[in-house]
């Protein structure tokens, strides 16, 4: 049974059954148009507009009892204010519409600024799939995004960690849209000894803590037994995504392919040592 709440003149009341609510109206404790709410209702609504209860209200009490305090209803809508002298109604309406449109433009600018990294993510997925990969991991909290692809033909994997760096309009307009991107290229390694051997140099040095562009390092995913070569990059997103948020899939594809090619060479070089 649905429970109702009423915003009665003396304060909010409820929960109560539909019968109790209708009885309260019949007894004159609540006006017929008392605002009511029930779970799942989008908002408070006047009781006498509720499709079911309004009918029961009519049947139970066709006319309001004398003396019932109804919600005040204006006798008539006030006449519209006259247009400004020398300016027609149409011109005022057009002026208001232009203000609303202009406001949407500013609103969309802010929205687009914060969403450009998501557009990049979608474009990377599209470009990856067009290259024969399948997406096997996707994690995103809105700012930090992680992708992993696999090529079903040779089981090589491509990972990407993307972080949007310019989330405000001021930042984006000052230096352009930027994101950090860590790209990894991995292959399955059967011998974990080989993985340890490949990573020995990193483990011995302080090299691991520096994440600057162009530093290629190696990382092992022991759960899936993959060895990755990875590199930190910074992307100029304006190069790949235009002001209308339309991605340039070809440019993205070309740069991802170049990075993957380089990392594959590094990985093969390290494994063969």
């Amino acid at each position: 049974m649905t429970s109702f709440y009423a915003a009665a003149p003396e304060g909010q009341a409820g929960p109560m059954s539909a019968e109790d609510l209708l009885a309260a109206v019949a007894e004159g404790r609540y006006p017929r148009n008392v605002p009511v709410w029930w779970p799942d209702a989008p908002d408070w609504v006047p009781l006498d507009t509720h499709p079911e209860l309004s009918l029961r209200l009519e049947q139970a009490a066709p006319a309001p009892p004398p003396g019932t305090a109804e919600m005040p209803v204006p006798a008539a809508m006030p006449a519209p204010a006259p247009a400004r002298e020398g300016v027609s109604d149409d011109e005022l309406d057009r002026g208001f519409a232009a203000l609303v449109k202009e406001s949407w433009k500013h609103h969309n600018l802010v929205q687009d600024t914060t969403r450009v990294d998501d557009v990049l993510l979608g474009a990377l997925i599209t470009a990856g799939l067009d290259n024969g990969h399948v997406l096997i991991d996707l994690t995103s909290d809105g700012t930090n995004h992680f992708l992993r692809f696999e090529d079903p033909a040779d089981r090589s994997r491509l990972t990407m960690a993307i972080t949007h760096l310019t989330r405000s309009v001021t930042q984006a307009r000052t230096i352009g849209q930027r994101a950090s991107l860590v790209v990894g290229y991995g292959e399955p390694i059967k011998s974990f000894g080989k993985v340890l051997s490949a990573m020995r140099q990193e483990a011995k040095s302080g090299y691991l803590k520096r994440a600057e562009p162009g530093i290629v390092s190696f990382d092992a995913d022991s759960a899936s037994q993959y060895l990755y070569a990875q590199v930190d990059l910074y992307l100029d997103l304006d190069k790949y995504i235009d002001a209308e948020l339309t991605p340039d899939y070809h440019a993205l594809d070309r740069d991802v392919a170049a990075t993957m090619h380089a990392l594959r060479k590094f990985l093969h070089g390290r494994i063969s040592d």
Partner: protein
């Protein structure tokens, strides 16, 4: 991003079998891109994957929201017995530049007509949030019908998405206000 941290951000799925929902999301993103919808919002974790797409050319819909909720069949045994099922929800959103209280009342009445609808298997349930009206439909799908099947899977996915987006578009078309 510190070096050696990147692998820790993934779920370490050892086989493609464990990633079917992600594979499907990837295919959806690419299929939608081919239809002129650009992905512009992602929220993805172990439980559910949501992607919002925008269109600048659709005459009714401003956004399409796709949510994939993996239900069953992720493991080797359950996958073998019952297959990989997921609920795939598709919602089309009309965004009006201007709304007023009369709109809200009109839309609330529409919502009430829809209150008993579940929006399943192609039926569309309409809801609203001030200047947005959203028509949504949900299907229980078999993921293998759409992935790792080459053109056949891509064709089936394209047809499914086109059909469901078409249905929600027609259901919410009445709420689209002309741009003055």
């Amino acid at each position: 991003m510190g070096i050696l941290n990147i692998a820790g951000n993934f779920k370490h799925k050892a086989e493609i079998r464990e990633s079917k929902d992600e594979i499907l999301v990837g295919e959806i993103v690419r299929t939608m891109a081919r239809q002129g919808f650009v992905a512009d919002e992602f929220a993805a974790d172990d439980e559910i994957q949501r992607v919002r797409f925008r269109s600048r050319t659709d005459d009714v819909l401003s956004y399409v929201h796709v949510a994939l909720d993996r239900k069953t069949g992720g493991g080797r045994i359950s996958g073998a017995i019952i297959g990989s099922k997921a609920t795939l929800s598709i919602a089309g959103e009309v965004k009006n530049l201007l709304s007023d209280p009369d709109d809200v009342l009109k839309m609330w009445k529409a919502d009430f007509k829809n209150i008993a609808k579940l929006g399943l298997r192609g039926n569309v349930k309409v809801n609203h949030e001030l200047n947005s009206v959203i028509g949504k439909t949900t299907d229980l799908v078999t993921i293998e019908d759409f992935i790792l099947k080459g053109d056949e899977g891509t064709g089936a996915l394209t047809a499914h998405l086109a059909d469901r987006i078409g249905r929600v578009r027609e259901e919410v078309r009445q709420f689209k206000k002309p741009v003055s």
